[in-house]
């Protein structure tokens, strides 16, 4: 069980390596290997979920693989760079999310017919990177895998996107590259700041680390930040560096335009992985590094977070109303929902943090589901444009039904995963920011507005435009297509009806985390 995280991260890489020497025409075996790799990793993720100690707030499945040692790195002590993995109640749900979405995306990629090999290789690397980011217990590991996701998604967009794919791919690369730079700055700052504060180490730690140790290990850093908390000044600087990275990474207004272009240009499975999983990384950074290590700065600037969050909520919602393309709408809707998470983090309360984790998972599942359905519809009708679709309920009842579930889940309908996230995070945000939160609830009304308008145009009414032309050839979801839909819907409903399946894992960790910020 100790190596489970390593397995999860490595299996997709192995799958990619196995695909590499295959013949370019060997589509079937390429797809099978990709599918198997994703599935196996997801099963290991499931195993991790089952073996996870529910009541324990600490990191579990800790594993550290030394990679290189730099002598004389910091004040005479060596610095060992390791690949370290561990999960706690915040990262495990996201690892699970990666598992679910990656399998569904691999199934979806069955529809890719050109450059199949390249698609699967990059997709496997992206999946590995995503797993690695969420399972990382070390600054270096985290950054390493984040860069892997950057490169892999860049190529997925560049090769498999639509007309303006180059523009989108480079925009993606530049934006996220800048975010990475700030993140790196933040990481280095964190390592130095905490290394310098190591004057209060205990005797055993002294033995272990020496007088001036520098560590990139998250567990040690967390330990250290409790023993010798950083001064407010240092925290503030780091906070803003991290915040800037997160704002870009998570596409908060006004740094969001890259996401819109990316989603508008990418193919469906890439959109599922980017929108469903990669777009949760930024807020994960927030929870992982900012909330736990920089609590003073967070407390000092939490109003800012709330306000930034609400700006994104409203801006995203209004922009989604005006969107004419389904993918654009989903992208803006995602921005709007991530604003909610920022608001929840700003509220600095355990319930809010739990709501934040729930929202990340729920929005990941729903975004993937929306992209999948919309992609499947576009495959049949040839367009994503809302105005050109109509009356799909008649020709595509299953897809339309699933689209309805996804839309309602995104609106926050009880019984689906969105609601429990919204209620928990709003409870905590209302306690701290009643006025700002009231503005945030407007997003709930606007979400109903844009999704139902788009739904009505797409699935209701008489068949028209592209839908009509496509009627002859349009077939409803085939079995391989229906599986991902039903699985995703099943998870969305399961979390909505039995939130405890996630809650028991998340609760102890966020409770402990909230202890750090006095919530």
């Amino acid at each position: 069980m100790q190596n489970v995280l390593l397995m999860i991260v490595l299996i997709p890489v192995i799958a990619a390596l196995l695909i590499l020497p295959l013949k370019a025409r060997a589509h079937a075996i390429t797809r099978s290997i990709g599918m198997l790799g994703s599935l196996l990793s997801a099963l290991f993720a499931l195993a991790a979920y089952i073996a996870f100690q529910r009541s324990d707030a600490a990191y579990q499945f800790v594993l550290s693989v030394p990679w290189a040692t730099i002598n004389n790195a910091f004040a005479g002590t060596p610095l060992t760079i390791t690949f370290a993995f561990a999960v706690d109640g915040i990262s495990l749900p996201l690892v699970m999310l990666t598992g679910i979405v990656s399998v569904m995306a691999a199934l979806r990629s069955f529809r890719v017919t050109e450059r199949v090999k390249a698609h699967y290789v990059w997709q496997m690397l992206l999946v590995s990177g995503l797993y690695g980011v969420f399972a990382a217990a070390d600054l270096f590991t985290f950054f390493f895998f984040l860069e892997v996701t950057l490169v892999a998604s860049f190529f997925l967009i560049l090769i498999f996107g639509q007309e303006r794919r180059e523009y989108a791919a480079f925009k993606f690369l530049i934006y996220r590259g800048i975010a990475s730079v700030f993140l790196l700055l933040g990481f280095v700052g964190l390592a130095y700041a905490l290394a310098n504060s190591a004057t209060t180490v205990s005797a055993s730690q002294y033995m272990a680390y020496g007088p001036n140790f520098m560590s990139l290990n998250l567990l040690q850093l967390l330990d250290e930040s409790v023993k010798a908390p950083l001064a407010l000044g240092a925290q503030t600087w780091l906070f803003f560096v991290f915040l800037f990275a997160v704002l870009i990474e998570e596409a908060f207004v006004p740094f969001h335009t890259w996401l819109i272009d990316t989603h508008e240009q990418s193919d469906t499975s890439t959109n599922m992985l980017i929108g469903g999983v990669l777009m949760k990384v930024g807020l994960y950074i927030m929870l992982r590094f900012v909330v736990s290590i920089l609590p003073l700065a967070l407390a000092a600037y939490s109003e800012w977070l709330a306000i930034l969050g609400v700006i994104s909520i409203l801006y995203g919602a209004f922009a989604a109303i005006a969107a004419r393309d389904w993918r654009r709408l989903i992208a803006f809707s995602g921005i709007s929902h991530m604003g909610l998470v920022l608001l929840a983090i700003g509220s600095m309360h355990a319930l809010g943090l739990q709501g934040a984790v729930f929202m990340l998972v729920s929005s990941g599942l729903l975004t993937a589901l929306l992209f999948y359905t919309v992609g499947a519809q576009a495959e049949r009708t040839g367009t994503y444009e809302i105005g050109k679709l109509g009356g799909l309920s008649k020709s595509l009842p299953v897809l339309s039904g699933v689209l309805l579930v996804a839309a309602l889940g995104t609106v926050g309908l009880p019984g689906l995963s969105g609601f429990i996230s919204e209620i928990t995070l709003f409870i905590s945000s209302f306690e701290r920011f009643p006025v700002v939160s009231t503005l945030g609830t407007l997003g709930m009304i606007l979400a109903a507005l844009y999704l139902l308008f788009a739904m009505q145009r797409t699935t209701f009414g008489p068949a028209q435009g592209a839908a009509q032309e496509g009627q002859g050839i349009a077939r409803d979801a085939s079995v391989t297509e229906a599986i991902p839909l039903l699985v995703l819907v099943a998870f969305v409903i399961a979390i909505g009806v039995f939130p405890n399946i996630l809650g028991v894992v998340v609760h102890p960790t966020v409770q402990a985390l909230a202890g750090r910020i006095g919530g």
Partner: protein
Amino acid sequence: MANEAWLIPAIPLLVYVILLVAGRRISEPVVAGISVSAVLLAFLLAIAVLADVAVNGPTAPTTYAWLDFGAHSLTVGYEVTMLNALMLVVVTLVSALVLLFSRSYMKGDERFSRFYQYLNLFVFSMLGLVISPNLLQFYIFWELVGVCSYLLVGFWYYKPEAAAAAKKAFIVTRIGDVGLFIGIILLYIATGTFDFNGLYTAGGAAFSQVATLAYHGASVPFGMSSSGFITLTALLVFIGAVGKSAQFPLHVWLPDAMEGPTPVSALIHAATMVAAGVYLVARMQPLFAASPVASETVAVIGGITALLAASIGLTQRDIKRVIAYSTVSQLGYMMMALGVGAYTAGIFHLMTHAFFKALLFLTAGSVIHALDTQDLFSMGGLRKKMPITHIAFLAGALALAGVPPFAGFWSKDEILSAAFQSGHYVLYAMGLLAAFFTAFYIFRVYFLVFWGEAKGEKHAHEGGSAMVIPLLVLGALATLSGFLNTPFDPFVTRFLTYGHPLGIGIDPPASLPLILVSVIIALLGIWLAYSVYGRANRGAELAKRMGVLYTLSYNKFYIDEIYHYLIVTPIFTIARAIAFIDRFIIDGIVRMLGELGYTGGVTLKYANTGQVQTYGVLTLFGLVALVAIALGIGGVL
């Protein structure tokens, strides 16, 4: 028996799941048979539960952990109170009859089993809402009810009007839902619980004692005064009820919801969706009772709605729309009752209204089914062709108009007398005027549809027994159910005030003069309708004489248009403005930066002349400059 109350919603849910899985493979009679018998079974259980609590009193909530969160764990469960035992019976009874009616109304529809599937989900949601022991679970089912109505109103999705109506219903009620959402969150923040019972400090057994919130913290949140906070939360909760129960100013969705199949209208209007709002206010009565401002607001909004909707109903041409506005108006009465503190009168009216309104809708459905039109002016002379429908409609109309001894008379009269006796004279006058309008418009429909000459070629006839039986049962109920709570034997009042629940008062006794006034008003309305529409249609004359008033009423006071210009248009304008800003300003700046980099590169490349010697000279100068700097600052950086 009350401990098995969870079975009541579970049965329709089970049927829903069965139909979801196997619906397409089951034939129409079986689908309808399963559904009707299941809901009938639920009805029988509800009767048993009602009998149980009538004898043993309400049960304590049974709860299960839903989301563990330390001290704040969220729970779900069920409980049976006097109020919801009554609601269970009403909901299951009306639903069973509507399901039966749909058997022949929806016969041959392509998605027959889907229709029953949605109906079962709808019934399940409503029943789940009724037996919820806490606000969170209540809200969950509240939203589910909204979604079911969305699905059912938009059932004929290929009709653009139906799709638009479904969307409108969902979004408008959503506005109210968000109010409720904020309300329950604030209540939770203040009291640390969602439980209906745990919200208030134990008030003891003192009858109608004013409750206060059970603040779990040291003080009221946000530094508000306690009464201010109670008023705020009560008003927020009321916003939810306004949306769901179609009260002014959020009443606009309900008449449009007529685009759905008629049985759906009957279900939405009589027993399920719109009743949820009234039920919510009744359930939260201790909170409203503790805030005079909130109760006054409820009463005033109720009064305005009653009058406004009744006056719109006077002139509509679509039979279902008239009845829809009458629903809005009657819901206004219920709110008014709850607002002036006449708790049992409000609930009693909810119950009688469920019967006679379901009856009116189903008879209207029967008429529409027979004639294939909803336009009042192309109907007529059905008295002889559809005798059962005629009698049933007449019973419903008399009940709605408030003619003794029909059901509506007893309940409406209680409300009006409570308004008068609690000193709300203006509301009383409004209610009276609305009653006059009500009598007029419903008999306008009656005379237009059943009297006069037959129009159109279609040969009208009664529907099958599946259509007739519900009409007979509901007709009997509309006629007789009023006797459950007469001033001589107030059975429902006794039942609902069992054990002196907190914050609930006893309605003032009836007074003979007030009863006489309302009876006279109702008869006046009927007489006017007869004189205008009874022998010949002289409606056009009357309309001309009314001038502006007619135009206003016919156009629903232009409320839809006002909303369109005040709310819808601005939202879309903002959205377009933001889309513009997004595309051309924010992304424009981004693209400008990109262009800047490109242009900079293109410009600077001309410095690369390819002349090695130029490079060499520049390098030399650079070196010299660096050395000079190094010397200048006395060291190599």
